[in-house]
Amino acid sequence: MGILLNRKSKVLVQGLTGKEGRFWTKHMLRSGTNIVAGVTPGRRGEVVEGVSVFDTVQEAHRHLEFIADMSVVFVPAVFAKDAVFEAIEGNVKKIVLLTDGLPKQDALEIRALANAKGTMVIGPNTVGVASVGEAMAGFFPVWLKGVYKPGIVGLVSRSGSLCNEIASQVSASGYGLSTCVDIGGDPFPCTVFIDILELFEKDIQTEAVVLVGELGGIFEEEAAEFMRKGKLTKPVVGYVVGKAAPPGKRMGHAGAIIIGNKGLVHLKQRALKEAGVLLAQKPSQIRELLRLSLSG
């Protein structure tokens, strides 16, 4: 049973009629996802891959006579905030906001509304969620040979593009994957590492976690503190990228003072190490570190 999504979850697809919406709806359906309806304003009555399209979330729910459990948002940045607000107001409790290029202040507004309404939004700029072997919401190519094998390792990442690479390593280790979650690459994600780690701790299928971090922000440090407080008792293998990265954009005096040295990779690695995380310096080490943590 996936931590956020399973075969029974009733999933809405917003932006289903777009090029990406269509392509990935086909693959989500093939992966086992129960897509109950699509929403694209102005396209009511169309049917895509056997899924009926409605003009609004309200109309979809009225027709279905139930509220969807999750919405996956394939909507470009210019319309994304509106689409997410619509889903939140429509009482959809989980939203996967795939949109890349969402204005940061829109992300903050979405987060504020989601928090107020108790909605979990994954993203923005995420490739989504994959309950491996059960269902998938987003862009995970779960059909790729050898990359996504079902199993017992939870993967939570800040990088979508690394998910395939890291998933292959976990699959190659023999332990396989329970759920993969990409919290997204933007600086103001609605859901952070600790939110997902909390779910992995409670998930009986997940016996270990691989955490993929990146330069910038303090997400990994927060995860480390969460672990030090004993809130995640399962073994964690970590991989943090960006040691050789170019320096970030200078943000005036404010940036220099407020950010200072925070966000650097070696600080994240140190915090994670002190919390008991086994650190990989490159993806190919993940297999061995998983064996070390799980064969104990």
Partner: protein, 375 residues
Amino acid sequence: MNLFEYEAKQIFKRYGISVPKSILLSNLEEVKVVQGLDFPLVLKAQIPEGRREKQGGIIFVNSYGELENSAESLFGSEINAYIVNKVLVEEKVPTKDEFYLALFLDPCRRVPLLIASSRGGVLLEEVVGEHSADIASEKLDIIYGLGDYKIRNALLRTGISREYFTQIGQLGKKAYEIFRDYDAELVEINPLARSLNGNLVALDAKIVIDDNALFRHKDLQKIRDRYASDLEYEAAMHGLNYVQLNGNIGVLCTGAGLTLSTLDLIREYRGSPANFLEFGGATYESSYHALKVVLGDPRVKVIFIRTFGLVARADTVAQGLAEAVSELKPKVPIFAVIRGTNEDEARRILTKEGKIRLFESPEEAIRDVVKIGKE
């Protein structure tokens, strides 16, 4: 996007924040028709970012002779890798007090901040730490905005005299309006000065606009002057995330995380990347332009390409790469690890094209790439 000081000041003026009286020179000839300003004047090189003072980008003058000479020395000069093509000529404003005020999207606490300090006009980060008594940052809620009590909270902690609170508060609210209307990541006034007649004047202005929001700010164009090089400009025009580094190994990958991982791996094998470049999405145009940009860098001796992205389809990426290669006929060796959706078709396309050498494992490829980089 970093706005030029003159652009930021134009916006400030529109919103009712006072700025010094000024004339913008767009070329050297225009200095001859400067009039209506009282000496002493200050000439300020207009560049997107960087410390101008330490590089002669800020010059005070007391006569037309000095004005012309200084303008001549500034125009066309290079400051912080940018060529100076515009100079702002301002009246020097005598001041009683100088403060610091900013609105900033903090990526650590992940909230907007109001930042205030009684120490204005200095290199703030060199005189205060985040928790110094002279500086206060107040967390803001994007829904509630910049409430009066938030301003009081911040100003009280800075030690700024209470007599200025109302004025600074009013100005702060205008700055916050700009921050929201313009999708800013930073609106910074350093110094915010109190002139002799008691008015608040923004002597400097810095506004950084969220690049993701540019689609709704069409009046802000990606002009060549905003970039330090032709290549960076070309990359920006094609929506590519490109940063030049110091080495000679050209890199392009699908997705930022994959690119960072690749740079780390190259360094691990003692190689030196020439750049960071991530491209992606479902259109092949991006891989075509990405390869073109990297090939445009004369320092590059060898190129390494990786795909394993999720949205980016390997075959469409391969198509773009094949087109770029057949059109540009590059001399440098190009290695690639091609994985992802439709990877078999992608490899077929590239094998047919012939120039790009395909590898199964990134570490295997990087060993060879680094060797060539060292030759």
